[in-house]
């Protein structure tokens, strides 16, 4: 068993309307001093069996094909345990 985390973020040059909305809401709630918010998503995958190089490559493929939209998003794969 292994746990792999895939973090997906909008690419830096891409407009992030969700992050912008959060940035707008923070000062309205009295939280000052935040200059930028980018909102992404996190996937935690439980992988059966040993996490081989081949399995990890497969996780990257999952991230590329399903978990992210590579046209507008970047992803990062991290092995947690």
């Amino acid at each position: 068993m292994a746990r792999v985390v895939v973090d997906v973020m909008p690419k830096p040059e891409i407009l992030d309307p969700q992050g912008k909305a959060v940035l707008g809401a923070l000062p309205r709630l009295g939280f000052d001093g935040v200059t930028e918010v980018r909102q992404g998503k996190r996937f935690e995958l439980e992988i059966d069996g040993e996490l081989t190089e081949a399995r990890l490559a497969e996780v990257n493929e999952m991230a590329e094909k399903l978990l992210s939209n590579p046209v507008i998003e970047d992803y990062a794969v991290t092995v947690v345990a």
């Binding site: 830096p12 040059e13 891409i14 407009l15 912008k20 909305a21 046209v71 507008i72």
Partner: protein, 739 residues
Amino acid sequence: MTDPDREQPWADLGLKADEYAQIREILGRRPTSSELAMYSVMWSEHCSYKSTKVHLKQFSEIPQETPVGKMLAGIGENAGVLDVGQGYAVTFKVESHNHPSFVEPYQGAATGVGGIVRDILAMGARPVAVMDPLRFGPLDAPDTARVLPGIVAGVGGYGNCLGLPNIGGEAVFDATYLGNPLVNALCIGVLRHEDLHLAKASGVGNLVILYGARTGGDGIGGVSVLASETFDADGPAKRPSVQVGDPFMEKLLIECTLEIFAAGLVAGIQDLGGAGLSCATSELASAGDGGMHVELDRVPLRDSTLAPEEILMSESQERMMAVVEPADVDAFMAICAKWDVEAVVVGEVTDGDRLLIDWHGERVVDVPPRSVAHDGPTYHRPYARPSWQDALQADGAEALPRPATGAELRETVLKLVASPNLCDKSWITDQYDRYVQGNTVLAQPADSGMIRIDEETNLGVSVSTDCNGRFAKLDPYSGAQLALAESYRNVATGGARPLAISDCLNFGSPEDPDVMWQFAEACRGLKDACLELGIPVTGGNVSLYNQTGETAILPTPVVAVLGVIEDVTKRTPTGFQSAGEVVFLLGETREELSGSEWANVVHGHLGGKPPVVDLGAEKALAELLVEGVGLLTSAHDVSDGGLAQTLVESALARDIGVIVTVSGDPFVALFSESAGRVVVTVDHSDAERLQELAAKHGVPAAALGVTGSDAIDVDGQFALPITEARAAWAATLPSILGG
């Protein structure tokens, strides 16, 4: 500083050698990189219409008036504006967002909607409805499964968030659109006559205000690169740079802009679309009476690392530019602040005749604005009737094997009803909010979309978009006229008087003389048809390079027709409304099967000549339909799929069947796609009145039968139960797209 002897990257920016030489000649020196960026985007095919303007200019020969009055703003403005009576004016326009929607279907389609909405807003109109004519590859192709759901979700996502009803459009499938889907977006706006605003920068000393979203790296080079080159060509500048839409920002922009208009605070206004600030500054300045000076470093940025040329080319969405008198600036800023819209004075109108742009004190642009916005290159591209055109036209579908028995006719009806182009489209349209704002009178699957614009008087407008690209391939001149005729007829079918057209001309590469001939023929056809019908072209858009490899799309001149109806509560509904009514077929049926859905679906055949266009007959039919409001209990246009499809759709509207008797060859009667035909119903007691009305207008009217029962019953041939027809019609999209 850059080395002055270094070769400039004009070729990577999409400029040709002679265009670069022309820029040097205009300026009398080497352009700066910012100037080069501006010229390259503004002289791209998408912005300059350099290959097509020699053909498009014939549209301005059409008298600029509609059957009910003069146009208040014509071709060349952001969108044409029509008088519809009672002090109201309406503006509408259709544009393409094809290539961006292939790269990123959701955002491409979403920003297509956003762009056309801002065009309408810039005329001073409140956007009231949108429509989206869409074209995809074969329904079962893997790439269609990628692009269709994204595009539909993008259209719905953006329009629904704005609170704009989506009242119609098309979804058409053909192999030539695989790898090059078409996403055309139309918006309708309403204004009072006195609220009309034109895009110009006048009045020396007036300030130039940029307001709306911040500028980021969105779509840099997109306008010249994405819209003007095919995808399979390699090159460093070809990277997709996707614009992301923010419909909530756009909603604020709409309300903010309308309040600014109402307060009388703008001298000129322009939306930022393709080519962003390059386009807005040069177009505003060249339409005004002076020059303009802009300090580019005042532009609010989302990404502080952007270079000036990138800021000039950025296509960040949800931005507008206004020209405001100095005394009005505070009031302008106060309204922007109220709507949470960032606004910055970026420049002023000057008494010179140059567009000057500075970046941190350094002059980066010093150009005559007209040379950027209007005096781009004009190409007289070679065009010639394709060598294959005669052979294509000689291969008519009339010779193909036909169903002979009643049982075979029945099978053919079922097969066609379930085919991708004729099946139920609610999988798509159910994702769109069709009734928000409570003014939608007709929407999909009606022949046209109809919107009430005055709640007291019930004045309304109606719009339809149509194009049969197969007809246009067989004969682009009459194919374009058939698109116009169908759209015109669809508007009249609901009881509205057709007033004007907007067109979105989607074609392949202009460098191919075959394609250029298709384009020239389509334009000629539209102009001739407009002259004969007495309606103007109010504007539109051209999209070229729609091809995959060497294969161009079917020529697809999408024509939108707008009509006016004095009282929407009296419109004629689509489809049978109750049993026991008499069914008539108006118009003449000929043996016209080439390019038909029958030939396409049953035989995979495309050849022959398209149906005959008789614009005199179309006009007479439209007049009958408009005068018949109140007499006609329902009306439905006969087009794709022929009479059989019209009868099935009319029956499915309210589960009311029909018993008809067809004269002559039943196959031809049911499947011919002759133009100029509509199925109407009237109360039993009104049958004679209808015949008198038809005689008055010189329109053939044949009694077909009576509504009622639970089947589509063609006497002596077959009876198709409504339940069976519905099952076949409704199953197609969900079975392939899921859900």
